[in-house]
């Protein structure tokens, strides 16, 4: 039993740590980045808005796995600059997830902005608030509220997408499960992995439900 713990569960928990780490890094950076992309897409500066729209289209229109492969294996092969683009695997993977998820979050925030009545901007204007004050004090909190359910969904998807790390050989949860399966000829590790994913998504769901209650404004 102790043996089982040491050879199977511990490495898997170790792998889960990688998963959680990636998740936290990706979500903490891609949410603000997504918001900036939304602002850029809405910007009156044409090249900026054009860039943001194209970026969002490309990132959402191609598989995340393909993007990860390009960043991990493709970039280093580029002529001349390639050798400077060899990133440590985990860093490269983080970058891939951040760039990809920022595009999804940008779409979510865009929907949140569309849901805000133009009367809110007008009320802020006649009260004399600046553009910046209006955005940060009036628009963003409401946008965040509207976006919460979609953010929650996307975050659960992100947890599961971390399994793609397997394909770029970063030792995460699934990697250790697979190793154990191959070594011990048992499928139990798959179920343990599933249980760990479920615990993580459950925690996340509870967190978002709490946030939704907090930001109910009633």
């Amino acid at each position: 039993m102790v043996d089982y713990w040491n050879t199977m569960i511990l490495p898997m928990l170790e792998g889960a740590k990688m998963t959680v780490l990636l998740f936290i890094i990706a979500i903490l950076i891609s949410i603000p980045l997504g918001f900036l992309l939304t602002l850029a897409a809405k910007s009156r500066v044409k090249p900026l808005s054009w860039f943001a729209h194209t970026y969002i289209y490309v990132m959402r229109g191609t598989p995340l796995l393909l993007q990860l492969l390009v960043i991990c294996f493709g970039l280093p092969m580029m002529p001349v600059i390639g050798e400077y683009l060899v990133l440590d695997r985990f860093t490269a993977a983080c970058l891939g997830f951040i760039l990809n998820y920022a595009a999804y979050f940008a779409e979510i925030f865009r929907g949140g902005l569309l849901a805000i009545d133009k009367g809110q901007y007008e009320a802020a204007q006649v009260l004399g608030l600046s553009k910046w004050q209006t955005t940060t004090r009036i628009i963003m909190p409401q946008m965040f509220r509207v976006a919460l359910p979609a953010l929650s969904n996307e975050s659960v998807t992100l947890i599961k997408d971390t399994a793609l790390l397997y394909a770029v050989a970063v030792p995460e949860l699934l990697h250790f499960a697979q190793t154990a399966v191959n070594r011990d000829f048992t499928i139990v590790p798959y179920f343990i992995a599933a249980a760990i994913y479920l615990v993580m998504t459950l925690l996340l769901t509870v967190l978002f439900k709490w946030l939704e209650r907090r930001f109910k404004f009633e």
């Binding site: 009545d117 009367g119 809110q120 007008e122 009320a123 204007q125 006649v126 009260l127 004399g128 608030l129 004050q133 004090r137 009036i138 909190p141 409401q142 509220r145 930001f215 404004f217 009633e218």
Partner: protein
């Protein structure tokens, strides 16, 4: 000099000419009721005064300063200063749903640092009391009735100490039994000599509270007079037709 002077105001949305040569003066302490059929340009006129719409011609002068003079707008900082002399109350309240009643009132003065925090919170209490909502200070707008929401909106506008208060159909979104409490607050303001321009369908309010009634149709001011003369002895055929339809 009048508190507000509007001359030859013109505004088009694309091909559609919505305001044609609008000219009027507002004196201090005036309560002006603006009435007219749907689509006649009442909202557009009101919104132009506080720079929610940009006009295509004419002048607006507030308390001596030109917001726009012969179709040339003031500099952005000046526009801010001039529009700060006015407050606006909207048909659909436009309260900030994520803030409590108290925060709705405080947010603009505290961000703009127009007064000390102490003074702001004191005035919040006073103004809430005035509109009869002291007990709702910590409620969110979602938990208020329409009449209460509109009273909060009026209170929020008052927090900025406007010289002129603009109302765009403040009771049109309310259930009939809730219009009274809002009209009462507006009547109190009139008695305290607040200068107001009120776009309204409430003929009773126009008649009893306003000291001037302006009738608009097709982007023009057709007739303007004191309520007594306006309602008992309208001059223009269009005014007569409108009144016939709207007063039983």
């Amino acid at each position: 000099m009048a508190l507000m002077e509007v001359s030859n105001l013109k505004k088009s949305f694309g091909e559609l000419e919505v305001l044609k040569q609008i000219t009027f003066d507002i004196e201090k302490n005036d309560v002006v009721a603006v009435i007219g059929p749907s689509g006649s340009g009442k909202s557009t006129m009101l919104r132009s005064l506080i720079h929610l719409e940009e006009v295509n011609g004419g002048s607006i002068r507030v308390d001596g300063d030109f917001l726009v003079q012969d179709n040339t707008y003031a500099k952005p900082q000046d526009i801010k200063k001039i529009t700060a002399k006015m407050g606006m109350v909207f048909q659909h309240f436009n309260l900030f749903p994520h803030l409590t009643v108290l925060r709705n009132l405080e947010i603009a003065p505290s961000l703009l640092k127009t007064e000390s925090p102490d003074a702001i919170s004191r005035r919040c209490q006073d103004i809430l009391q005035k509109v009869g909502l002291s007990d709702k200070a910590n409620s969110y707008p979602a938990n208020l009735s329409g009449g209460q929401k509109q009273r909060v909106a009026i209170a929020r506008a008052l927090m900025m100490n406007p010289q002129i208060l603009l109302f765009d159909e403040p009771t049109s979104a309310l259930d009939p039994e809730l219009t009274g409490e809002v009209l009462k607050v507006m009547k109190d303001l009139a008695e305290e000599h607040m200068t107001m321009i009120v776009v309204t369908h409430e003929m009773g309010f126009a008649r009893e509270v306003a000291n001037k009634v302006v009738f608009m149709d097709g982007g023009e001011i057709i007739e303007a007079n004191n309520p007594e003369a306006f309602f008992t002895n309208p001059q223009n055929e269009r005014t007569k037709a409108f009144l016939q339809k709207n007063i039983k």
